[in-house]
Symmetry: C2
Subunit: 870 residues, 2 copies
């Protein structure tokens, strides 16, 4: 199994115009890691001391002490309780519900303020326009600026990043308090502006932030919050809470978050999501009741369709049409969104200009959109005066708008009046609404503020469904059913179907269906919705990636594409077809020069450690940084000073007694001897000593004492880095008087020494595959375990390596976007009947070969085999 540390890479955030980019900086990470390790050691010491003091207390028999013992015990009990998962989940749910409710309240206030300003200035259209336009421009600019200054990571949806994080990648500063503040305030302002933006993507991020911060806070009380696996489990639950408390949809939230963020889902984690999301949704709705907004707990966008005859069987084709059209629409939306980003990135001049004036792009986009929606202007043809929420409520209305073509007799109550226009009928209004909102939403989601695309798409889908429904109602005014009873068509039902289908198509999820049930509080249209959502998914998935995967590609986050809908080639491609055969490795008995060469030519993050070039038996993998540390330590100044001091000493000795000529060569040999000797006899405590030549100086001895004081081996490396300097400081008698040439010579000599791996952190069981493993299985294992590379071995021998890159290429190579399936090289050779045992036998022969070489010395004829092995 790959060790815990392999995929702990922190990715640095790099701010670009619209979406940021993550780059890797190993140096920074290494520093942090060292700091973390030091802290851990310190913490552990603290804990030990605390428990020791507790033990001491129990010996003290005074009354005060008894009290204190009791207090300590109580404290311990409380802490152990606080550590329970369910307390954490309840807290998380509670906090998120409050955040969601407060945010909704603020957004509603902002929108009301805009309406009030706009309404108060109805005497002058120009002033009205200025008020209508300035308000969102200011809010969006503030949001963009605030986000940029406080935490640029907070911009955008957050779901793509959470997907990456749950895959095991560490994104730097993605889960900090700063980001939390930026996301919350930025999101409130952005949504308060009335732009077609959504709350649900960012809420996943906010919930994850909340979980991470809560976990940090709780770790002040107890120790278990430090565990990595647990944190990932909690983050998964937090994603569910995010969606759950945003829509008051616990079940849909859990399912949506699973579909959107996971590739493999641990069912044991299931209850966490349900528990937290339910609690959160409950509190969120209870707050509304307490605030007298609602009488009791009901759905957020409650519908009142008839229950006894929700739809006719013959309406199903219309629902299917909605599904298929939504599929195309969803794919188009994703494509459009990516196109806009790529267009602006490509135009270097524009890009440069906009990068300088960061707030210009958001302001321009907002200006354009709000101008077009200005109610007395073009907005009158697209219900521009309605907020997103109001539009949705009217679209889900259970009355029919267009009973006889242009419905004159129908009185539009409340907001529904906005859809009626004296010159244009409802159909035209709806079409204009759909078309305009479509590109507006695609454009608006590229603004670098915290925002999601789910809700805008949801509204567009509802409008599209309504359009189809109204058309059906106009076409069959008496309903379709023929058995005497008139069951008229319910266009609201079509709107629900359309909303679920389009949002499903854009996000590539099926669970939007469940979200819709929970949002509307009705499940009577379950079959039409399921059919439409599945069809929409089928169409959209075969055309475009999901909006989140699209953003992942744009942001260049480390990801692994999905295998897609049943491509059978996957079962026929083997690891041996895609693996890199020319693996760079280091051997146990390599010299520092080999190390140097490998580090120069190879750019991989980890290197394989094999027994020897002949045997190629894989022993483990070492991180690049570890090797760099080894090398710099061998060639570093402290070690050179040590060498000088020693030479001076031996010269002094030489001067006094004139004995045993120690050539460099001899010295070299001795050091070898010594190293083996030490590593054989003194096992655990002396690794730092083993490099230094024999006569141990007092300074070094003291260091090994220090080392024993440390109760863990983790700090070894930092100790090691620290001590040579100290030694140099404490040796005033040695001067660094070597010339450049001498240094170069000395370094050449040092490079010829054999590497000592004692202080090196080796992952002793990197993940291994066999060359016959299928691509399908490889993909499964990579995504299950969150690997980023795996070695391919054959009976212990290293024969290749597969990394995410190869895997990605293989998947994308065999399934291009256009649907042309390219067979991987070599794949065709295999179908004609070679089988696995064939390859195994071959490998076994090689092994035998090797075995003969290695073990025959203990056999009858050692001389013969020795000749072979040479």
């Amino acid at each position: 199994m790959a060790g815990d540390g392999t995929d702990q890479r922190a990715l640095q955030y790099e701010q670009t115009l619209m979406y940021g980019r993550y780059t890797q900086e190993l140096g920074v990470y290494a520093k942090e890691e060292a700091a973390r390790l030091r802290e851990e050691a310190a913490y552990r010491r603290l804990v030990t001391e605390r428990s020791r003091s507790l033990d001491l207390l129990e010996y003290d028999k005074s009354r005060c002490a008894k009290c204190r013992i009791c207090t300590v015990h109580c404290q311990k009990f409380l802490i152990s309780r606080v550590g329970e998962d369910w307390i954490f989940l309840i807290l998380l749910g509670l906090v998120m519900a409050l955040v969601s409710w407060v945010m909704d309240f603020c957004i509603a206030l902002c929108l009301q303020a805009q309406k009030w300003m706009y309404g108060g200035l109805d005497s002058n259209v120009v002033l009205q326009y200025l008020a209508w336009v300035t308000y969102p421009v200011v809010l969006i600019s503030f949001s963009a600026g605030f986000t940029h200054i406080v935490a640029p990571q907070a911009a955008g949806s957050g779901i793509p990043e959470m997907k990456t994080i749950l895959r095991g990648v560490v994104l730097k500063e993605y889960l900090t308090l700063k980001t939390f503040v930026a996301k919350c305030i930025g999101l409130t302002c952005a949504l308060g502006s009335g732009m077609p933006l959504g709350k649900e993507g960012p809420f996943v991020h906010v919930a994850s932030l909340c979980a991470a911060l809560l976990s940090k806070f709780m770790s002040l009380f107890g120790g278990i919050y430090e565990n990595e696996s647990r944190n990932i489990e909690m983050l998964a639950a937090a994603c569910a809470v995010g969606v759950g408390c945003c829509f008051a949809a616990p079940i849909g939230g859990v399912l949506f978050s699973i579909e959107v963020t996971s590739t493999f889902f641990a069912v044991r984690n299931y209850w966490r999501g349900f528990f937290a999301a339910t609690f959160s949704a409950f509190i969120f709705r209870v707050l509304a009741v307490w605030n007298r907004d609602e009488e009791t707990i009901t759905a957020l966008f409650k519908t009142r369709f008839r229950l006894d005859f929700p739809f006719d069987l013959q309406e199903l084709p219309a629902f299917a049409v909605i599904g298929i059209a939504s599929g195309f629409g969803g794919a188009l939306f994703v494509y459009l969104n990516r196109l806009i980003v790529q267009f602006i990135r490509k135009q270097k001049a524009i890009n440069k200009f906009l990068m300088k004036k960061r707030l210009l792009y958001p302001a321009l986009v907002t200006l354009l959109i709000s101008t077009l929606t200005f109610p007395p202007g073009f907005g009158q043809f697209m219900a521009g005066q309605l907020t997103q929420k109001e539009s949705l409520v009217t679209l889900l209305d259970n009355r029919t708008w267009a009973k006889q073509g242009i419905a004159e007799e129908f009185e539009y109550i409340g907001h529904a009046a906005a859809w009626k226009h004296p010159q244009a009928n409802v159909f035209i209004t709806l079409v204009i609404f759909i078309v305009m909102k479509f590109w507006m939403s695609a454009l608006a989601t590229t603004i670098p503020v915290p925002c999601g695309a789910f809700m805008p798409v949801f509204v567009i889908g509802a409008a599209f469904g309504r359009l189809v429904g109204e058309s059906m109602a106009a076409w069959f005014p008496e309903g379709i059913h023929s058995d005497g009873v008139v069951y008229s068509i319910v266009p609201g039902g079509y709107a629900v179907v359309g909303a679920a289908a389009l949002s499903g198509a854009v996000t590539h999820t099926v669970s939007t269906a469940v979200i819709v049930f929970e949002l509307t509080g009705q499940i009577s249209h379950i079959l039409p919705i399921m059919i439409a959502v599945i069809l929409a998914n089928a169409v959209a998935q075969s055309l475009q990636p999901s909006i989140y995967d699209s953003i992942i590609r744009i942001k260049k986050l480390p990801y692994l594409p999905e295998l897609g809908w049943g491509h059978h080639e996957k079962y026929n491609i083997r690891v041996e077809d895609i693996m890199v055969r020319d693996v760079r490795y280091i051997t146990l008995n390599c010299t520092y020069r080999d190390l140097h060469d490998v580090l120069l030519t190879e750019r991989l993050k980890t290197l394989a450690l094999v027994e020897s070039t002949e045997s190629m038996i894989l022993l483990g993998s070492i991180e690049r940084s570890q090797l760099q540390a080894l090398l710099s330590q061998q060639l570093g100044r402290p070690r050179r000073l040590e060498y000088l001091r020693q030479r001076a000493q031996s010269e002094r000795k030489h001067a006094s007694t004139v004995s045993t000529p120690s050539s460099e060569e001899g010295n070299h040999k001795t050091s070898h001897e010594v190293r083996f000797q030490i590593s054989t006899e003194e096992s655990t405590i002396s690794p730092t000593r083993s490099v230094s030549p024999k006569p141990l100086k007092p300074a070094l001895k003291r260091h090994s004492v220090v080392e024993r004081d440390q109760d863990s081996g983790i700090a070894l490396k930092s100790l090691f880095c620290a001590h040579p300097e100290a030694a140099a400081v404490e040796d005033p008698d040695v001067e660094d008087d070597m010339t450049m040439r001498e240094i170069a010579e000395w370094e050449e000599l040092q490079l010829d020494e054999q590497v000592n791996f004692n202080n090196c952190k080796i992952d002793p069981a990197p993940f291994q595959l066999v060359e016959r493993t299928s691509l399908h299985k490889t993909h499964t294992i990579f995504s299950l375990l969150g690997l980023d590379h795996a070695y391919v071995t054959s009976i212990g021998r290293l024969i290749g390596v597969v990394s995410l890159r190869e895997l990605r290429k293989a998947i994308e190579g065999s399934v291009t976007v256009k649907g042309v399936k390219v067979r991987p090289p070599l794949a065709s050779f295999r179908d004609s009947g070679t089988s696995s045992s064939d390859a195994e036998v071959t490998e076994l022969h090689k092994l035998w070969n090797r075995h003969t070489n290695l073990t025959l010395p203990q056999d009858h004829q050692p001389s013969d085999s020795d000749e072979k092995s040479q």
Copy 2:
């Protein structure tokens, strides 16, 4: 990665009284495996020939040939289409919908027949009683007998077995046509009898059977249906279809099947389940519409609760009480069920008697239950005349039964009248119903017929909810809400909550909530239901395993317990605490005697292969059966005859030329020489020859020709088994004239030879863990990859092994049923600050040590190191 073959063990079904037991028979499996491999090779040959004939055709330029080419191409196209997943899923959904509908129809017929018989004999109570009782006894006995004769595997629920199968274990004959027939007919009869049995568990099994058979059928057309990973994916989808078309609940079906059968769920599989389940549910409901049972597609148990004010906030405590009580009830149900099984198993005398008269137990149980439900008898106090479906419909009624204590003025329409009794009020009827049905259901599900426990539990839960609801309605006749408007309490809503909670508690699932929404067609009670289900799960999971896990334990299926709700010790236990350190292994250069000893003392299914006892480098694992084959081949009669023939030949030669004295020792040496030589030079084709001594006989030569005809190496083993016998038959000049002593001597000599692993199937990359891997991670990996053992290695060296058994012990040891958490031995030593690099350094020293031994021969001082290694 563990190879494909490691967990391909077929478990044999062993019929016991109530639940069968699975035992392992490796021999049978080995035979089947060989047959399968042979078939595969034959199939591949066929395909090759076919494509060859196609190539030939294209050269032929006649018109007829063109037509034929066209046909062949069309055929190819069709086949490739048929291979698509979605066609398979549609077919599966269609078939299952039909099966479900037909079965429901037959069950309804059976129940009607019983009612008719019972109703027609209302003149005489005794005759009526006889009719009432005989009918179910006959049906159940027939069902039990039929199942027992045709396929005993069909008895019981099927979900526990599917859970095991999806974990990667092969249960023998569990997915055959016979089982399908037995399950369908048995289930129809069992449910037609009116016993408190369910349809949903068996339907999961039926759907899986259907998928397996369909997959077999489809493989007649195309090749990809042979793939194992694909089959598992399809089985997972089939489980969803099973639940989906049983309740017409696609979403709930998918979620329930995931919760019940998986530990880790691949999200890429999600759409398959949704697609198939939706299609199936759709067809299932459309059939009802076409059959004029329904006007349009609606829910199965449609409720009509008011939408505007479904429940008051102050009713929530009552819902919570239902949840908690259901949790205890669910745990009690599981316990009771297990108790009954164990009681009857323990009573040896009863057990023996009942095993002989197989039909007696089902008949007795049925007699008892049907006597108690006899409507004119005790049944009148528990609505005994209602079928399960009718009871559920009445319980979910949206009217209140007990408006003023004993509701006189309320007219009981239809079946609801059954709940009214002149002497007893509704509360008493309900209590009796709940208590009686509770133990009856627990008892009835132990009958060895195809049956599930979900539906009975669901009904009991609904009754319990109704009871609480009616009590609340009696307590607050004017409703709780205080704002002027009277919203009376809806007891039907409580019934829905109770049903979801109790079934959730028994099965340990949350998705019963979704099933309930889909069954009733209303989602307005979502929050109370979620709260009750989560509370019920929390209580039940801390008291008892789920009913399916309980059955898994009773049946002794290979399983891995779940980690449970947040036990933090999991993160602190390491593999090194639980692993078996005394691993039995075989080395590359071991003798057959070593093999023999290991096979005698060790009972593991696979053995580790290491390089040598000194290095302990893990090279792979070999199955026990492979080793047995090696051994029996070395000591078998054919080889002895070969030896005799050869001796005779050499004696003949000796007689003619008198040269080169060949002692046994010399012969032995030569054979060694030869083996290495052959394995080095002739790589793939000659493995069968390499064992045989040098002078190749004509018979053997012909065999290697046969072998070349075979296009794959897979069949090697079976060939190998076949050929020596042939050789023996064709050598009439050699007689088996060895005495027992000679044979023993010869065998002793053979045992001293070194093992030749060339013909042995080695898994070259068995799964490896590191000693610092946490129990939590180990559990994750085991359940993710479906392992049953993993080797613990340290930098390539084998240091231990962990199997399912150790893991199970560790999990159960630290979380006993009573809630006392026992710390594993050694765990306490670790918290006080030892860290991973400590151990790594130690290991590295050992490695260095070893490295010194092995590689120094090529260094400066070979003599020194050779001395060390001796």
